[in-house]
Symmetry: C2
Subunit: 361 residues, 2 copies
Amino acid sequence: MKRVYNFSAGPAILPEEVLKEAQKEMLDYEDSGMSVMEMSHRSAMYQKIIDDAEKDLRTLMHIPDNYKVLFLQGGATTQFSMIPMNLMKHGVADYIITGAWAKKAYQEAKKFGNAKAIASSEDKMFSYIPDVKHLNISDDADYVYMVDNNTIYGTKFYELPDTKGKVLINDASSCILSEPVDVSKYGVIFAGAQKNIGPAGTVIVIIREDLIRKDIKTDTPIMLRYDIHAENGSMYNTPPTYGIYICGKVFKWLLNLGGLEAIHKINLDKANLLYDYLDQSKLFFGTVEKKSRSLMNVCFKTDSEELDSLFIKEAKQKGFDNLKGHRSTGGMRASIYNAMPTEGVKALVEFMEQFEQKHKK
Amino acid sequence: MKRVYNFSAGPAILPEEVLKEAQKEMLDYEDSGMSVMEMSHRSAMYQKIIDDAEKDLRTLMHIPDNYKVLFLQGGATTQFSMIPMNLMKHGVADYIITGAWAKKAYQEAKKFGNAKAIASSEDKMFSYIPDVKHLNISDDADYVYMVDNNTIYGTKFYELPDTKGKVLINDASSCILSEPVDVSKYGVIFAGAQKNIGPAGTVIVIIREDLIRKDIKTDTPIMLRYDIHAENGSMYNTPPTYGIYICGKVFKWLLNLGGLEAIHKINLDKANLLYDYLDQSKLFFGTVEKKSRSLMNVCFKTDSEELDSLFIKEAKQKGFDNLKGHRSTGGMRASIYNAMPTEGVKALVEFMEQFEQKHKK
């Protein structure tokens, strides 16, 4: 069996232990005589799988009792619609535009009400997080929307926006479970699973109960109503059963590691290995403002596109895969999610040093 | 490794060969050094997986070139909304109510226009397919909606409704790929994967291109627009990558068996084994009209609820799992999808014979 260091931005690397367990259980889960893929979602055995997944996520994130945890489908993109459709009561919402995903969410919200872009870092290709201490929050805003970690550019919020008491919505797709979080500061935290949790096709929504409304527009599609999913324990229809099972395994893997406090320390170490090297390199440089640097997606370049391409190509040959930056930014991006082992980052830095030796001026 | 005969209505049994291949490839797909779960959906390797899946499905079903094949999320339930949101041009649609799922689709459609129930078998607990030769089709109907196979009750259409030229929409969730089909007779065929194809969380939509409209309501959520998915090859956002990969393996398994003509013969043999036994049994009886009998879901009872419970319990002990009927019908249901081997049905019939011997009056 060959395994590469997979720096993909998502779908992304999963813990090898998790994959090995899933492999072992593929044809016979816990002596049931069937795969989890083949299991009725109404069976007691599957109910335990989803219940355990929720319980473990609650433990990991210290989710307060007045929040529901939902396992849904449709990716973060479906949340771009569900948030305004379910949460816009007065028809106004404020968006902080820190990247392409925030912008897409904002554009989608405009279909359903008066969505306002109250801050943006688009002027410098989203290479920083704008000032969020002095935001022009709308008086009648139903919520303020942010994207915690910006996968494409490699930035992250280090302080929460001052929402002047308005509900805060957080798309945490690319940083959920990477560090401890105070859930009570948010109205909704949601995340597509395919970056830091599990396979694509599952999205996790953590929502404060009082925000789950029944008095929304009557022509809201049934699958886009939080109340329906909350009342049915994420089983109004058949959920993505196998995906949730893998997510549950990742939660257990994190608990065994020591929870979010422990993984945060590891993530800081991994990111520092890369950023420290970049800061002293004469060939490579980081592309974002230092105080906005993501712990999950480290973006960097040389000053030559040819050299960037050569680096990506040679890296792949050495077993460092998916280092190409997003097409909109160019350069390189190393996504170092929870499941990327420290030795993967160390090996990458060593390879970068060798490459620099060969190509320095 | 233990394997049971799993008669679950869905999520349901998968071909053992498919699961074994997936198991083998779990940590390293085709020497890529990663699991398909970890693979970027934008990679050439994943593009080949989804392209092959589409190609093989087109071959199996002889899908004409003027139909798009979409791999979506949200289950059949999301289609209950997407169909009217995308296809109601004049705001009228006719529904044939042959079960709980047809009824749910009809109720959902009423949110978006004038959905009419033009036929129903609810008077006899959906135990038959109503006359569809002489339907009262609305002059301005944008489509006629049917559910081909009714999982809960065990009925199926043996002739197509006379729609008087209106577009026919078919929810084929529990019978897709069970027999040859003339796709050109339909405007849309859709199916949740978790019965006859693959894991829950993927839904397949086969839609005639001219029905994919751009001039729909501007506040339609982006993920509920067929045009968006069609223009982006099912990759507007991250699709359920692993689920599609398993679907693709099931398509190849069917092609190797000889396609839908071959599996249909096997399915007829399996269903006949059960129905022939039921028709001569003094203890068990089938619960639906003979001419509407499903090939996929065989519903039966004894005349005693206690005996039904005892049968289900003893069957489970012998390795025949998930034979309990739906809570709304009671009794038993043996779902014998494509992946259920003939020997599973033979073994079940033998066990029923033994049970009858013990409990006959």
